[in-house]
Assembly symmetry: C2
Homo-oligomer: 345 residues x 2
DNA sequence: CCGCTTTTCGGAAACGTTTTAGTATGGCAG
DNA sequence: CTGCCATACTAAAACGTTTCCGAAAAGCGG
């Protein structure tokens, strides 16, 4: 005899009343409610989650699925830990807790999610690193689990998603470089298999064409999104017959490797070559010269994610009457010294 | 009527037999077992976790508590994501899943853990960022939840913990610098409030004294463990009246800031000042000059963590007959160019 | 053919909670 | 005084699963 039963016996009261008192139900005398709360506090009673969720089919837990693949570990640079701050601040207001579900790298993300969903351990999900076709989305729709995807996708009709404003960033970077007279602008990006690689390069191409500059496939350098990739990107760029005067990096981390390769070749970023990075992480400003890149608040993104998710959950939707089902998250230009090189002056 | 009942009805078999078939119990005919498994696969049946854990008081889930404080986000640099790889590889062999519990930065970690434990959502815990006195440890001992702490602590008698070999690293760094003739060796570390700061500086002091070098408090520069902190450390070091010829950094990230400050002062690391970092992250080797630091495998640490934890869980202890209750995790020297500066030659 | 063990299965209890339905009690209008 | 309603409580059912216990069937030695 444990749990609420013990508490009820200790108070010489029925367990039903204890439960209603703890859960703030109306039909319980205020005096008894106080007694119950005091006793619960004293005995350190907290409702067993299994029994509770078995009965009411809810867990008050939100899952955030992340991948712990080698790639992610090296690149994401605490992206998720940063986002959780904003997530928590919203979720805690509704007494919801956040659980991170790291998908093992040797397991299919779809299978992993299926297992977690079947377990009924979460009320809703946030999935990240969404692919262009992503079975996880169909699964979540089929099982009717509220969710929001971090990353756009074409799977499963129109679901709710949030993604970074790659188009805006690419346009801003290209505009900025073109206004300084650059016509041959290289870009270092991951392969088209990665959603980001596809979208970003596509946006880059469109931005160029808007300026009447022909898209040159040779200027698209496909590398890993890491320092190593940045080094390699520098290497490949230097081997081009017609050298670019500017380069856009999809990951700021690449800049560290790129700088090193440029240094070996005696090229100074910002003086001989304009460099613009993408997502700012706390490294860029300490490089020499400091990196021009795009800034965003991970915390704010987390807040937006949480609010969008709650809007899709029937029990909470009333507080978050969102119309938009998909959000493009803007980034702000954070100017540095690395793109000072200009062809116009 | 859902779940196992439906499955049983579909097979025209009792639910008890279905359950036993799915859980691999011996007293069930192999033919019926096959039928059950096939039907479960076909109908996509997975046992509801709430019902299951309510009955058997177990969840098959291991919790990893991390802090999502600003400090952690900026410094830990995907430490946890890296460790999870190793954790998962061991846990999945026992059909255990890993859950990351990010403690909100505005909540007391102790209260957060209490809530999570009361929920009965995990069978065992791994807690990180252990403090020298840490109420979480008393809580876990009191509630009899198997756990292992990442970081040493004096709380709660002798519990199981794993920590990095700060003594070994400090000794190795000091030895190496002293062998090159350095006598005034500075150290950049966080304050004594942080466990790491206390232990590392203490080990540094002992190493110096072993070489007969007097400990000079002025050479201990207390800064944040970030690029910013590294920059500041450089700044403070340059203001010392009697300048050191070498410096040890507790976080490799500091090197980026330090390098920048040194550059501003016209000082070249490895030529005018010997620099040794601590934990290698994939940045150091791309700095110029490359950083001498200490390397470890996050994955292996995760494996060790998982095996140590399983050894403390009665249901799994048989496979992991560990004697040691505490482990010092070694790091390996990764030589670079930054400590080339020598006073002996 | 009998008694015994082994194999295989069905029925039912149990896990801890919430919630529904029902029951006293008291107040109040008629 | 009677009927009615609001209040505050109790009792019991339900959530989905696992596991204990007993029983039927089957095998087997005598």
């Amino acid at each position: 005899m444990k749990g609420i039963r013990q508490l009820a016996k200790h108070l010489d009261i029925s367990i039903g009343t204890v439960s209603r008192a703890l859960n703030g139900r109306p039909d319980v005398n205020e005096d008894t409610r106080k007694r119950v709360l005091a006793a619960a506090e004293e005995l350190g009673y907290v409702a067993n989650q299994s029994g509770r969720s078995l009965r009411q089919g809810t867990t008050n837990v939100i899952g955030l699925m992340i991948e712990s693949s080698k790639e992610t570990v090296e690149n994401s640079d605490n992206f998720f830990l940063g986002v959780t701050g904003g997530l928590q601040s919203v979720l805690s207001r509704h007494k919801l807790d956040l659980l991170m579900l790291p998908c093992p790298n040797d397991e299919d993300p779809h299978e992993y999610l299926k297992r977690m969903v079947a377990r009924r351990i979460v009320d809703a999900m946030i999935i990240s690193a969404t692919q262009r076709v992503d079975k996880r989305i169909d699964l979540l729709i089929k099982t009717k689990i509220p969710f929001v995807a971090l990353g756009r996708s074409t799977s499963g009709g129109n679901h709710t998603w949030i993604d970074l404003d790659f188009e805006g960033v690419a346009a801003c970077a290209v505009d900025r470089l073109v206004s300084k007279g650059h016509r041959r602008i290289a870009i270092a990006a991951p392969s088209n298999d990665i959603n980001l690689g596809y979208i970003f390069v596509d946006a880059y191409r469109k931005s160029l064409e808007r300026h009447g500059i022909a898209f040159d496939p040779a200027l698209v350098i496909r590398v890993k999104s890491s320092e190593q990739g940045g080094y390699q990107a520098g290497h490949e760029m230097l081997r081009l017959e017609s050298k670019p005067s500017a380069i856009i990096l999809i990951y700021e981390l690449m800049a560290i490797g790129l700088y090193r390769r440029l240094n070996e070749a005696g090229i100074v970023p910002g003086r001989d070559l304009a460099v613009i990075g993408f997502r700012e992480e706390p490294r860029g400003k300490f490089l020499q010269p400091s990196l021009t890149c795009f800034r965003m608040s991970l915390r704010d993104l987390g807040v937006e994610l949480a609010e969008t998710l709650l809007a899709t959950m029937p029990a909470y939707a009333e507080h978050y009457p969102k119309g938009a089902r998909s959000t493009i998250w803007p980034l702000e230009l954070a100017p540095g010294e690395s793109d000072a090189f200009s062809l116009t002056s």
